[in-house]
């Protein structure tokens, strides 16, 4: 029996099992979360390729699963990443029922998790692009449902990821077979352009962010958070694996400078539009683009500390988005999430409003929230390396915080009606727990950062 086989088969079985409980969201959430957590434990700590005993039986789990001549391998270089992925999944599934997402989130979500895990395991890793395409397909099913039937965002996501898949597959083939190095500048330029196109789509670099605002506006906030976390985490690991595997890529003149410029453009674009939005969900969509931009700035430093910060920011995003989405789902009780419709929402659901606002503030990097330490550390790193990028981070902080304040004002405004949206005790515990975690990680970042950055420890070229 091989570890990748166990991981992917159990994920599929869990997905099928969850589908049986379609009218019991709590059971679905519990099975998905516990199952994902157990799979994370398996990925992180199982003994590979050496026999061991379980209940008196000798068991040997191999690291390699051969499928049609290609190998899926769980090894030291990727097991932490797979573990991180399943733990993030467990965290998101655990709180999902509070947000009442569509039923697809659980079983299609588990399949998406398996697909991203397969993208980490597949060798050669270039074929990960195909699994990202499958994840995008699943993402469409998570975003669009009978409760939220608008399909524009989902269709755009599918189109963009299909184009990205093709660009990355061709670029990958060029890198592997045409002897592309810094000594072959013309080929290197072609391959880099194709890779840049592929990763621009995956990282939602404008104008390839086109799927995000319509998806944010029309989908369940929790479904959007799940999809974004999954796709972006997979994309970041994929990008880092490229940088790790092709040494010449890191020596392409101006590459990291270009990544930083793209990051600056994303930060400016996202923050300006976040402040101008009149839809609460779209504010988060543009805050996310800003956050992806900040992550690219971290990658664009081209130094191990920068890569670690990018991973840390990716981990923090899981908490930020989950907290925001749980709160937003409580206060958005109808499709209209405009300024007027949400006026006084803090009186209808105080904890929900607090959760949504703290999630947004943390996404902005507000002090004493989970998003702050990573941005502060990045700002310190960029101060000497690229002051302009540092100013962009400050601009992002100011704009997204201003947007958060503007919406605080709306949520605290005079309510238009006397409705009260009651929450059960368990819902309150989850919402308050999320808020507490956001603040706790802001005060004690060492609880999360060192652990998340370990996820890429196997990339020995990037983290010598």
């Amino acid at each position: 029996m091989s570890a990748p086989f166990v991981l992917l088969t159990v994920t599929a079985v869990l997905a099928m099992g969850v589908a049986l409980f379609r009218n019991r969201p709590r059971t679905q959430a519990a099975i998905s979360a516990i199952g994902s957590a157990l799979l994370a434990v398996f990925a992180l700590w199982i003994t590979l390729d050496n026999p061991f005993e379980i209940l008196g039986f000798a068991v040997k789990i191999t690291s390699t699963w051969l499928v049609l001549g290609r190998a899926l391998i769980l090894e030291e270089s990727n097991r932490a990443a797979v573990g991180f992925l399943y733990l993030a999944g467990a965290f998101i599934f655990g709180g999902a029922w509070v947000a009442r997402p569509n039923r697809n989130l659980y079983y299609v979500g588990l399949l998406c998790l398996g697909s991203v895990a397969a993208s980490f395991l597949i060798q050669p890793f270039l074929f990960a692009a195909l699994f990202l395409e499958f994840t995008a397909m699943g993402a469409v099913l998570v975003l669009v449902s009978s409760e939220t039937p608008a399909r524009r965002g989902g269709l755009r996501l599918l189109i963009l990821y299909t184009l990205a898949m093709m660009a990355i597959l061709i670029a990958g083939w060029m890198l592997d077979n045409l002897g592309v190095t810094s000594a072959t500048p013309e080929l290197a330029q072609r391959a880099t352009m194709l890779l840049a196109l592929g990763f621009a789509v995956i990282m939602a670099v404008p104008p390839f962010h086109l799927w995000l605002p319509p998806a944010a506006e029309k989908s369940n906030p929790y479904a959007l958070s799940f999809v974004t976390i999954l796709l972006q985490s997979a994309g970041l690991f994929f990008l880092l694996r490229f940088l790790d595997s092709y040494t010449w890529l890191r020596t392409v003149p101006g590459l990291f400078e270009m990544i930083r410029w793209v990051g600056i453009a994303m930060v400016c674009f996202g923050s300006m539009l976040a402040i101008a939005q009149r839809s609460f969900s779209k504010v988060m969509a543009y805050a996310l683009i800003t956050d992806f931009g900040v992550m690219l700035l971290a990658v664009g430093t081209g130094i191990p500390e920068g890569y670690r910060l990018a991973l840390g920011l990716s981990g923090v995003r899981v908490v930020n988005l989950a907290v925001w989405a749980m709160g937003a789902s409580k206060i958005l009780d109808h499709p209209d999430d405009s300024f007027q419709a949400l006026q006084g929402a803090a009186y209808r659901s105080p904890i929900g409003a607090a959760s949504a606002l703290i999630g947004l503030a943390s996404m902005a990097g507000f002090p004493l929230t989970a998003g702050f330490p990573g941005r502060w550390a990045l700002l310190s790193t960029l101060a000497t390396l690229d002051p302009l990028a540092g100013w962009a981070i400050i601009l992002a902080f100011l704009c997204v915080c201003a947007a958060a304040l503007r919406w605080t004002n709306a949520l605290l405004g005079s309510p238009l009606d006397e409705r009260i949206m009651s929450s059960t005790l368990t819902e309150k515990i989850f919402l308050i727990g999320g808020i507490a975690m956001c603040i706790l990680l802001g005060a004690f970042p060492q609880l999360l950062y060192p652990w998340v950055t370990e996820a890429a420890a196997g990339m020995v070229q990037l983290f010598p």
């Binding site: 379609r22 074929f127 099913l141 299909t162």
Partner: protein, 203 residues
């Protein structure tokens, strides 16, 4: 030289024509029939670099993809939810002129864009270029799920013609075939969701 290679020009021209028809036709029955015919010629071009059995498997996957979309359309009614985007001009004459221009551009580009691929035949490279160009044009014109799905399947077919010459491994072939089926399933899901029916996937 086998007859498949000898008459490959037929397949190359046929994929250009079917790609163009997919943009020009509005009748969904005809669109799906044309897509199925397109898969036959795509398989022909793929067969220039792969064994016949593998090519047959790709053809079957393509036809199943057509069948999946057809079943969804049969459920919601073949004419249901046909939407034309308001912002994009989409009259027949406009589309015809656009198709002609894009085909001319594709002929101009021809096999040059695949010059890095060592084993691809001239006709296969033209076929791949035609399909990708037509697919992209289709995506530019429409936001309606069936048309978008057909556009995506056309682009991927074009990509596969070129990619199979450089990466003929069975695993990749199987994964790419699954991409066709996956896109068909997603498009069917979107059609059924919109029509208010509870699709199978939702239980």
């Amino acid at each position: 030289m086998t007859w498949l290679e000898e008459f490959a020009i037929v397949a190359s021209i046929a994929v250009a024509l079917t790609g163009a028809l997919l943009i020009l036709l509005d009748n969904r029955r005809l669109v799906l029939t044309t897509l199925a015919v397109q898969y036959v010629f795509v398989s022909w071009l793929v067969g220039l670099s792969l064994p016949l059995q593998v090519t047959a498997a790709k053809l079957v996957a393509g036809l199943i993809a057509c069948a999946i979309i057809a079943i969804a359309l049969a459920n919601i009614g073949w004419a249901g939810q046909l939407m034309t985007p308001e912002a994009i001009p989409s009259g027949m004459i406009f589309r015809f002129i656009a198709v002609c221009l894009v085909l001319l551009a594709a002929i101009g580009l021809g096999s040059d864009i695949w010059s890095a691929l060592p084993k691809i035949s001239t006709f296969a490279s033209y076929g791949a270029t035609f399909l990708i160009a037509m697919g992209l044009l289709q995506l530019g014109f429409q936001e309606e799920p069936v048309k978008v799905g057909v556009g995506l399947l056309t682009i991927i077919s074009g990509f596969e013609i070129a990619y199979t010459t450089i990466e003929p491994s069975l695993a990749v072939m199987a994964l790419l075939a699954t991409v066709h089926l996956g896109i068909a399933v997603v498009i069917s899901y979107l059609l059924l969701i919109r029509s208010g029916e509870e699709p199978e996937l939702e239980g």
